[in-house]
């Protein structure tokens, strides 16, 4: 068994709104092995970004544990977290157009996190470090003085990656890092992320709604629906044996760029139900074509059906291959 970098146990993140309690992340448990990539898939509003931000301590957890190398970073004092752990866990954000300060040059942007974390580091050393990182992520030296608006999406996302890497993190939460990019640029960034992982032994949590991207980059996949993890297994396994009806629908909804393969599509009725004060039933039941009375009365738990493949569905056995 490989070394565990992170153990997430019964993690909950609720938001208290005037209309009720919003269960953004609800009782999620999973492990992340060192040097591996876990892909988190789901539609908008399913809680994937909240999960990522909670692991980062950008949100504080409502309850549950996040053990990073054995230390519970979810409940520790935020000052202590920032001092000892912030540089270990970094994040790459979705929108490279919105996540960079437009008034800072590329060089300043990359130096910023280094300066924040190492207040006493001499200027020359900071600059050298920033230059090294720029070269590492493939940003030309001539771009040092450029501002974000002068650059295209792919280069901006490289700045985002450089900022995350500048602190030598071990774990990076990638929140839809390629969704805003064109396909040819997307390929460049995905390859860069894979190269960095190989060279530095990084561990990724890769949040995306794009199944083909997640299949390409992940070792493990977890599917989320309304704050809960409903299926979890090895990346290839989910395409071989898709068990949860929602995962099946998600997979069949992807348009495939192949003109000869016409697949039977499972079109879901309706849309995501509200994550505010959900009833104690299967949260997918309202849209599930196989839902029975049991699904409406009882909440299914995530259980292991075969080694390494867990599903939260009362009738999972029925859908197994």
């Amino acid at each position: 068994m490989a070394e565990l970098l992170m153990e997430v146990k019964n993690l909950k993140k609720y938001f208290f709104t005037p209309r009720g309690t919003l269960h953004a992340v609800d009782n999620v448990t999973f492990n992340i092995e060192k040097g591996k990539t876990i892909g988190i898939v789901g539609e908008s509003g399913c809680g994937k970004s909240t999960l990522g931000k909670t692991l980062m301590r950008l949100h504080s957890a409502t309850s549950g544990q996040v053990l990073y190398k054995g230390a519970d970073i979810a409940s520790m004092d935020i000052k202590q977290f920032k001092k000892n752990y912030r540089s270990h866990i970094q994040m790459i954000f979705q929108d490279p157009y919105a996540s960079l300060d437009p008034r800072m040059s590329v060089f300043q942007l990359i130096q910023e996190p280094i300066k924040v974390q190492n207040k006493k580091m001499p200027k020359a050393e900071v600059e050298k470090k920033a230059r090294d990182i720029m070269e590492f992520v493939g940003l030309a030296k001539r771009l040092e003085g450029a501002y974000p608006h002068e650059l295209d999406g792919g280069r901006r996302q490289r700045i985002g990656i450089a900022r995350a890497l500048s602190l030598n993190p071990e774990f990076i939460v990638c929140d839809e890092p390629v969704s805003a990019l064109d396909v040819s640029i997307q390929a460049q960034i995905l390859n860069l992320l894979q190269d960095l992982q190989k060279e530095r032994g990084l561990t990724y949590m890769f949040i995306t709604h794009d199944m083909s991207v997640v299949k390409h980059i992940s070792d493990d996949i977890a599917v989320m629906y309304l704050g809960q993890m409903i299926e979890k297994c090895e990346a290839k396994e989910i395409f071989r044996d898709t068990i949860h009806p929602y995962s099946q629908a998600l997979l069949s909804a992807i348009p495939i760029p192949n003109v000869h393969e016409k697949r039977e599509r499972m079109v879901l009725k309706g849309e995501l139900t509200s994550p505010i004060d959900p009833k104690p039933c299967c949260r997918f039941a309202a849209r599930c074509p196989y839902a029975t009375d049991k699904c409406l009365a009882e909440e299914p738990v995530l259980r292991e059906l075969k080694p390494g493949h867990s599903v939260a569905c009362h009738f999972a056995e029925k859908f197994m291959k």
Binding site: Q194, H209, S212, V213, P257, E271
Partner: protein
């Protein structure tokens, strides 16, 4: 370029673009957004317009609609034929009766395409009243029918856009676009802002409506999967030009242009396992400073020295399948490598 080279039989054309050139002119620079597009669309067919950001897809659509930003955007050259009439010769007043009635457009972002302070039903009825001689009651009836058609209960006629989810808003936008049964529908990335399961619903609905009403459609997208599912013909755009054009199966099975080939290899596949994705090196050329030779030259993996000498023209590489690359002309040197090897 003569029409012949655009290789299709010349009957039943709903739309034809002839050598269309569109520039955005500002004090500092001229952006050459569309550079000589030749395109024909048969009645009842769906044409996919594919390309990356900045390829000129949306500019082409706005040009057809006559909605280019005034003062800045200009049709410099060419003509746009809709049902045998040149749209560029029409006055703004005449264009207003074409838009919404003969051609409709669905915009990319349903969140901003609707009027937030007007009930959705009224927004549909408005279009109907504008283009048809009918009473208000008839227009309301029509709007309710349209809502039902796109799967929204007519009782929600009086609700405002913020009360609907993203997928439903896009349905309302589609209902507005189809309310007057246009001959041609231009859909600009209609599902890009939506989740896959909602995208599947919208695509299903659009296909059904297209089958029932026989509307011709131009579908602008960057998603090759959506193209494979929806379209009859495909046009691939790069730097304001159509670099490849042909029937769907032909273009997918047998891509002719090096850009199309590279594009296929750069998307991660669900069926195949690839260690590393193929990358198209470099970036799309700056449209305010396009080279005098092939605009894809700098990124092309199949280029030769000849490519740098002149701009390639569109050639029919096989029946009905056009590519803008000198590989398919006698100018291509016999010893040059071919076939997209890295």
């Amino acid at each position: 370029m003569s029409n012949k080279e655009l290789a299709r039989n010349t009957s039943d054309k709903i739309l034809a673009l002839k050598d269309l050139v569109i520039h955005y002119e500002t004090d500092e620079e001229v952006v050459e957004a569309v550079n000589g597009i030749e395109l024909e669309l048969e009645k009842g067919k769906v044409l996919g317009l594919v390309g990356e950001t900045g390829a000129g897809k949306t500019t082409t659509a706005l040009g057809i609609m006559g909605l280019l930003p005034s003062k800045v955007g200009h049709v410099v050259q060419g003509s746009i034929w809709l049902d045998g009439e040149n749209l560029l010769e029409k006055s703004e007043r005449e264009m207003r009766s074409v838009r919404g009635k003969k051609i409709s457009m669905i915009f990319q972002d349903p969140m901003t395409a609707l009027n937030p302070v007007k009930p959705v039903g009224e927004q549909i009825a408005e279009v109907v009243l504008l283009h048809n001689h009918c009473s208000k009651a008839e227009a309301i009836k029509r709007a309710q029918d349209m809502l039902a058609m796109v799967g929204i209960v007519p009782e929600r006629y009086k609700e405002y856009p913020h009360q609907f989810s993203g997928g439903m808003k896009q349905r309302i936008v589609i209902a507005i676009a189809l309310a007057c049964e246009p001959d041609l529908l231009i859909a600009d990335e209609p599902t890009t802002a939506l989740d896959v399961t909602i995208q599947a619903q919208i695509l299903d609905m659009m296909r059904k409506l297209q089958n029932d009403k026989g509307t011709s459609m131009i579908l602008i997208t960057h998603d090759l999967g959506v193209v494979a599912e929806m379209c009859d013909d495909v046009a691939v755009m790069y730097a304001g030009q159509i670099v490849e054009y042909g029937p769907l199966v032909e273009v997918f099975d047998n891509p002719k242009h090096p850009y199309t080939r590279a594009l296929y290899k750069s998307i991660p596949s669900l069926d195949k396992d690839v260690e590393r994705l193929n990358v198209i090196p470099g970036l799309v050329p700056d449209p305010s400073n396009l080279p005098a030779y092939c605009s894809f030259y700098e990124r092309c993996q199949e280029r030769c020295d000849k490519c740098k000498e002149f701009e390639p023209w569109a050639v029919e590489a096989s029946l009905g399948h056009v590519a803008r690359c000198i590989q398919y002309t006698p100018e291509w040197p016999a010893d040059a490598k071919k076939g997209g090897e890295e």
